[in-house]
Symmetry: C2
């Protein structure tokens, strides 16, 4: 059974997609086809959306699911005329919230992520640029400005985790890749010693890392099970000896890794 | 009036935060203090959360708002015992969805972002690495593998937009910074000619760019109003002459820019 789902929004649609997608995961036996329709902000655009929903209903003989984060009451009202089953995010929650707080709400579009204002924007852009300039463990890195330094062997998710921390939380996240050189010395590089408290390690199951590296450079020494095991063992040894907190990311998404790092390193979001 | 808001989740809490934050923006006259409590996945942890909510209610003499994306029905039930006003995203919508579709839901944690599986993970990581390697417009860039090439003058949001496209949508986004050299030639660099259809321009109001560049390098020629105006005019001229679609990002957040680019360039998300 395939069911069509529409995400309707007068902004980016990110909130509607987040809500809808989260709810759809609770129905693992249903296959969904999703259609995102952002920036629906005039009566004319709503009418075209309604026609599209109705054509889908006719063609499929099934009621489409419609997740809406329209903020304008007039557009919301109009959307209820479609032949889909509308789940209206604002309609559902703002009424009860008004009651609890004893104040009325005002429809506000496009502020959903609260990152539009110049202050937040600068924090975030600065964090992204810092993170990109401190991604390679180069000797010229200025770790004193880092909020956190993610470390681990090659292909353990350091870069995407750092970028996610920068983009979502405005955190200046540097990244130091551990190599055989570090393991032979058995010590952290000199440059990291004064910033030891900021280090956070990532590790991963050997099978998974083997698979990831094989996709990159099949049949290389780098991707061999022997090398993978050796590096992971040495990295975890170093984390323990140096009392660096670390996380095994084998079964985690980038979001989960970033959220866990924020929590375990007790970092404050800056945006 | 300051009101305390709790985001409770058995996963990362990102969905609870996104949804809650969107609702809070509809109450611009209320000041909120938000507390995020992720990974609440046992009865013991729920009980500590309840105690914390109740202490807040006592201290403030106001009912705290509690946004929950707990998936386990048992934990959800337990949370209703707190003295906050609980807005339960799953409870609210899964019942009506079951009715419409005639199927029952199964509680699933941590799949909210659907990026946990190896296929998605690889797409996303590959996109992030591609984007980072194609951020500087270097002559060695391989634009043939790009899904989109974002261009514009310095500090118009190209890098964060590309990274957001890569992280959120798995899109391979390259970035080509326009400089005086390009403007003097009045042409796109040779390397971009075969990929012209993939180009997408970003521009920004002169006042805003002036402000952003002054924060970087105050009193430099680079940050002068004259230089800013000259570059923006030349870039927009080039976009028009070469029929490159472009977007003015002055009042947009990174999410909005990325969503607009996806829509206007008709890009398909890969994750």
């Amino acid at each position: 059974m395939v069911r069509t789902v529409f995400y309707i929004s007068d902004g980016t649609g990110i909130t509607a997609e987040t809500l809808g997608h989260t709810l759809l995961t609770q129905f693992p036996r249903v296959t969904f086809q999703t259609i995102s329709l952002p920036f629906v902000n005039t009566p004319e655009k709503i009418d075209r959306v309604i026609q599209r929903i109705n054509r889908t209903a006719d063609r499929e003989g099934l009621v489409p699911l419609v997740f809406s984060t329209l903020t304008s009451p007039a557009l919301r009202m109009r959307l209820t005329m479609c032949r889909g089953s509308v789940f209206d995010f604002f309609e559902t929650f703002t009424g009860p919230m008004e009651e609890v707080m004893g104040v009325t709400s005002s429809p506000v579009t496009g502020r959903s992520h609260g990152m539009g204002d110049p202050g937040d924007y600068s924090e975030r852009i600065d964090a992204v640029h810092y993170t990109m300039q401190h991604d390679d463990g180069s000797a010229f890195s200025d770790y004193s400005k880092a909020d956190i330094i993610i470390t681990g062997v090659s292909r353990t998710g350091k870069t995407p985790t750092c970028l996610y921390l920068a983009l979502q939380f405005g955190v200046q996240a540097a990244n130091y890749p551990l190599t055989d050189e570090d393991f032979e010395r058995g010590e952290l590089p000199q440059i990291l010693e004064p910033e030891k408290e900021k280090l956070f390690g990532l590790t991963v199951g050997a099978e998974r890392l083997y698979q990831i590296r094989q996709e990159r450079r099949a049949n290389s020494v780098y991707a061999s099970m022997q090398q993978v095991r050796k590096e992971l063992r040495a990295a975890e040894d170093l984390f323990r000896r140096k009392k660096i907190p670390f996380l095994n990311i084998t079964h985690m998404s980038v979001e989960e890794i970033a959220a866990s790092v924020m929590q375990r390193a007790d970092l404050k979001r800056k945006i």
